[in-house]
């Protein structure tokens, strides 16, 4: 993908908007995709790696361990459908990791990995309509945590 593309995530919101019940369905921040990366922080606030690690484990938040092996031996079960994330912080940069979390389908449209900061999927359970899996700061916290996996 050569040209930069302005993604208004609020577009997805507008689609689901007619049936959205949630007052909690917060506006999504705009972000700019450059060559399959998102160079700018979604919040402008630095991510908290310690919080990021908790979110990655949390079954109702990141639940990354469902699909990925990660250097978190205190957690018993790690899934195997995704890539081993040991050392991912030296393989990939922040901008790529942010894109991976926000909407990995931009990188690989056939991927099994969910888009953690996106709305408008098909037949979303009513109470999640118009909501993202993670909020913008949680995405930044995970990016910060992944960057520590050298």
């Amino acid at each position: 993908m050569k040209h930069a593309k302005l993604m208004t995530a609020a577009f997805g919101l507008a689609l689901a908007g007619t049936i959205a019940t949630g007052a909690q369905a917060a506006e999504l921040v705009n972000y700019k995709i450059v060559d399959e990366t998102i160079p700018q922080s979604l919040t402008g606030k630095p991510g908290d790696a310690a919080k990021g690690k908790k979110i990655v484990i949390h079954r109702k938040k990141g639940n990354c361990l469902a699909c990925h092996v990660m250097p978190i031996p205190e957690q018993q079960f790690h899934g195997l459908t995704g890539t081993d994330l040991n050392g991912v912080g030296s393989r990939l940069d922040e901008a790529t990791l942010r894109m991976r979390l926000v909407d990995p389908k931009v990188i690989n449209d056939g991927t099994m990995m969910p888009s953690f900061y996106k709305t408008g999927q098909h037949r979303v359970l009513k109470k999640f309509i118009g909501k993202t899996i993670l909020n913008a700061q949680e995405v930044e916290d995970i990016v910060a945590y992944l960057m520590t996996l050298k």
């Binding site: 079960f77 099994m112 899996i133």
Partner: protein
Amino acid sequence: MNFKTITTAVALVGASIALAACQGTAGYEPNPYDSMDGGIWSGYKTASVETQAMQNDDFENPAMPWVDAAAELYDKADGEANVSCADCHGAPDDETGGLKHIPMKGVGASYPAFDPETNKPINIEMRINQCRTKYQKAKAYKYESDEMLGMTGLVAMQSRGMERVSTADFPDDKLNAFWKKGEEFYYQRRGQLDLACSNCHEDNPGNMIRAERLSQGQSNGFPTYRLKWQKPGSLHRRFRGCNKNIRAQPYGYGSDEYMNLETYLAWRGRGLPIEAVSVRK
């Protein structure tokens, strides 16, 4: 219900958790199943040894109290017509099919079938209710009721070991249009997690998804006794669970969407032996 079987089940769940805990010290387990050989296999294969043992032996199978209760209902005259299932079909295992020459054996292996009355697929649950309302002039069973689960189990069990057949992919098969819609459903991503059935059950059978070992999501064992449910459940209950787990809005029991999916899934499982009533985690 038989209280003793339930406590055994609980003890066994405990045991399998403990076992999993021992294996878990390695952190994660590789996929020991060859999922790339194109072959089909049942969820029995990825079940724990304890769960398999419960399914292997009807005296251990915790679904049997439901089936036994249904066997009594099967013999009992009911409804305004005051006739029993046995009056028309003979005993459940009567291969000649009693007075009407319509045996229960083979139904589990060939359903869903095409129903000329509704011009739609019909599964065992719906057929039982058709016989209740049309022939017995009795009230339909609720889809997920103990009576329906037991009766579906009793009927499906008569096909144990028989291979699943389906020709729904043939353009001139009356189920073909429904099969096609079921296939679309199977490959369509849905829910906040944006996953299709195929992402888990076609691309990753044998792989761990956190603590769960994925199977091919076949339907040959239904109805199934799930230790998690502490009772038997229908295929549509499992569909609803697999939808809700990825935060997708489920469809109703017996809905057209799930009937199409059931029709398609039966076709995917062609050749698998019927295992009803299976036991799963």
